[in-house]
Symmetry: C2
Subunit: 395 residues, 2 copies
């Protein structure tokens, strides 16, 4: 992990832009000899992956766990974020003595393809032009992301992962790993996810993309070259998305109809209600650390995800003969990726004869539950990971 | 009803603008002698209300039914819309022989205060300046809307309404009518509504407003004077809202993951999926008929709605001693205004000793169910209205 002191003196947005080519992370660069095959056709070359690791790889190379991040996540799962200065997004779950225990496991977290924290994405420099890719980067898929991760895992000299773990879009990557590289995944933990993106979720993503592209500062994706920034569009996109990450009851518990620093209604379009100023803050904080074009690419990758479609329309075929052991988790109040979505995966795994356990966890915190303090979820994760480690002799 | 032939030759947006001051509706103008008291303080004067009527008022003036429209509705409930040329928004329910039978009842539908189809709103001409009000119009509330409607009902010479009926924001108006003018409402039918707007719903509205105000063509609300139009912002707002009007399952049934006029993914940000092009169409069609500032005002009125707050925080007090008979309706898949919201009203009505019936109707069509072909809903409406009419001797 890098010393981030100097970096945090920069305005956050400039700091975030600097991460695209030269991140405060380990980086592996794949040259012309190692192109990345893309689902869109053709290859991406050269490209790079930015990643963090925590803990130590054992001599048998049998204790490696890959974490897959969600839409707005990155590789900074368990360290202070170099741009925001905030804790890693999964420090609840990952660290010394935590359920995914970095004292005992070698944990890898990489930025996804199409991201903006150092893995090749639309804000990276296109070597062909010396300018940011913008929309010249091919549209990528979840499978492309996973192919790139497999090259990183190769690079780290790891043949078989003890576990692949991720929530939301991260869970899609876990499912793709299990389908594409069954022999390389001993245990898979897809959390709060689905085997395909629903019409409603595609619709919410489309609203976010339209909000970004409606911002005249987006400039057809060329805002970096033109010195503009589609902040307002991206902020609106994030606000809309953020509502979907929470539940009605958690919003009610957190904010209700309470007013923000005032005694009565202002009869204006100010943020009278706490929930309004909270949402505005979420939107504004997001644009300081996230690239608008990356938002388009990563949401698109999720929309395109439909694992069964690659297997004749039968999800069970994706896991046929799999020796991977699975543990699925959903949360009762998650209306973005529901328990029904997880059950559909469980049914397919059952049909394919795979080893699978499933837990629906009672929580009123909505989709974001997988990032929050959920003791039952922690206990299940610890139990599943430890059992896998014992089974391969890594504990 | 007016002859709309000439109007529909104009581009829709221009036609919609023309409606603000000189609508294709009946209009009543209230001068300086009849100012409208506003919750924000002060008065609005002069102001006007645009309305449509259907059917004939009987000699006893006992067969009048007031319809209250929702956020994006207007007075054209049961006639061809003068701007869009489409059927009225409640022609499913209202018309000759329909559940609200215009052969037997005198039905009134007025555009709400703050709207854009002829009742005074932000796109109306401010008589003080000769320019559109824009944000100089005071922020209005549901109670203000209902006060204005009461003045219209007075103007029409009707002392007591047989029924007040409305869904969503229209249902809020129905509740407000019953609370403010109990002696003037024989029967009240609040449909798919709530006695207060939830944190989640305020949040969705705030996203919509931010989308409008983020559009540089909004110009601080002065787009009409400046010859611009915040079309893209309003379109994004409508897209986000439209998702909340449907259910996940209705979106799935209607669109699933089907592609739009293509065989495979384009690996682009085009509208690959049918649900995307549907949403884009919804957004674009909306801006042709609706004013962006009206969208701000009307959503704000809904956010401010909290009927109990005016009655010491106890909703039952709003209906104390009421002789009005109530019929509430909710739809199982409506996640914007849930059955729990309706139940909370029913409990308050029970506590206040009011006469109330309640039906939760099985439908997978989400919040929009109240606008759609729902036979059980139609039967309940017909039964309730007819019983009320018999009770007052109007049938």
């Amino acid at each position: 992990m890098s010393d981030n002191t100097a970096l945090r003196d920069l305005p956050a947005y400039e700091a975030a832009r600097g991460e695209a080519d030269h991140p405060h992370s380990a980086v592996v660069r794949f040259g012309a000899d190692m192109p990345l095959q893309l689902d869109a056709g053709g290859v991406l070359t050269p490209f790079q992956i930015a990643y963090q690791t925590y803990g130590t790889l054992n001599a048998a190379r049998s204790n490696a766990i890959l974490l897959c991040h969600a839409l707005s996540g990155d590789q900074h799962a368990a360290n202070v974020h170099p741009v925001t200065g905030k804790p890693g997004w999964w420090e609840t779950l990952v660290g010394p003595g935590k359920p995914i225990d970095t004292d005992r496991f070698f944990v890898i977290a990489s930025n996804v393809l199409g991201g903006c924290l150092g893995t090749t994405g639309p804000s990276s420099t296109n070597p062909a032009t010396g300018q940011p890719y913008g929309l010249d980067l091919p549209v990528v898929t979840i499978r492309d992301m996973v192919r790139a991760q497999a090259m990183l895992v190769d690079h780290l000299g790891i043949e078989k992962l003890l576990a692949v773990v991720g929530g939301s879009m991260g869970g899609m990557q876990v499912l793709q790993w299990a389908a594409s590289y069954p022999e390389r995944v001993f245990a898979a933990m897809p959390i709060a996810t689905a085997a395909r993106h629903s019409a409603q979720n595609i619709a919410f993503h489309e609203v976010g993309r339209q909000a970004v592209m409606a911002d005249p500062e987006w400039r057809g994706g060329r805002y970096l070259q033109e010195g503009t920034s589609p902040r307002r569009g991206l902020s609106v996109a994030r606000m809309a998305a953020h509502i979907t990450y929470m539940s009605d009851s958690s919003l009610h518990r957190k904010f209700g109809r309470r007013l923000q620093d005032r005694d009565g209604h202002t009869f204006s379009f100010d943020a009278d209600f706490q929930v309004e100023s909270y949402l505005r803050h979420q939107g504004e904080a997001f644009v300081d650390r996230f690239d608008a074009n990356s938002y388009l690419y990563v949401t698109r990758a999720m929309d395109y995800f439909d694992l069964a479609a690659d297997y004749g329309g039968v999800l069970a075929n994706a896991f046929k003969g799999s020796k991977t052991r699975f543990c699925l988790v959903s949360f009762t109040s998650d209306w973005l990726f529901t328990t029904a979505d997880s059950r559909a995966i469980v049914h397919a795994l059952n049909a394919s004869g795979a080893q699978v356990s499933f837990a629906e966890i009672e929580s009123d915190k909505g989709h974001d539950s997988f990032l929050l303090d959920e003791p039952e979820f922690f206990a299940i994760t610890r139990g599943f990971i430890d059992a896998a480690a014992r089974a391969v002799g890594a504990l």
